[in-house]
Symmetry: C2
Subunit: 71 residues, 2 copies
C-alpha cells in the first residue's frame, strides 16, 4: 500500500500552488477533516476521493495494473 506516498504527492502539489488545506477542501469537495487525515499520513481513500483531490489540483490520477513478473 502506497497511500502514504500518494498523500505526500498531493501535499507537495498543494504547497507548490500555495493553497491552504481549507481552500483545497472547498475546491475539491473533500472535507477539511479528511484532508488533514491524509496529509498527516492516515487513511485508506476511495478512488473517488483521490479523483476529487486530483481534479482540484490539476493532477491526473491513474491506476495502473500490470503483470508482476513472468506470466
Amino acid at each position: 500500500m502506497h497511500s502514504r506516498e500518494i498523500f505526500n504527492i498531493v501535499k507537495a502539489r498543494r504547497e507548490s500552488l500555495n493553497v491552504t488545506q481549507e481552500t483545497l477542501a472547498q475546491l475539491s469537495g473533500v472535507a477539511l477533516r479528511t484532508l488533514k487525515q491524509f496529509e498527516s499520513g492516515k487513511g485508506n481513500p476511495t478512488l473517488q476521493t483521490l479523483q476529487k483531490l486530483g481534479d482540484a489540483l490539476g493532477l491526473e490520477v491513474t491506476v495502473i495494473i500490470k503483470n508482476k513478473g513472468i506470466n
Copy 2:
C-alpha cells in the same frame, strides 16, 4: 473515474487464470459479495481493496499522479 475499467482488468485476469469468483474471494480476502459487485460494474473501491485483489492475481497495482497540461 475509471473504476469500471479497473474492474474489467481484474475480471479478465481472473478469467485468464481460470479462477472462480469464489476462489479469488478466498485468496484475496475480499468478500465474494464485494467481488460480485465489482465485476458487475458497481462500486467505489478503496486502495486497500484493490491492492488485495491485485496481490491475489499477481497484478501490480500502482497509482500514478502526474500534472495535467502545462504547469
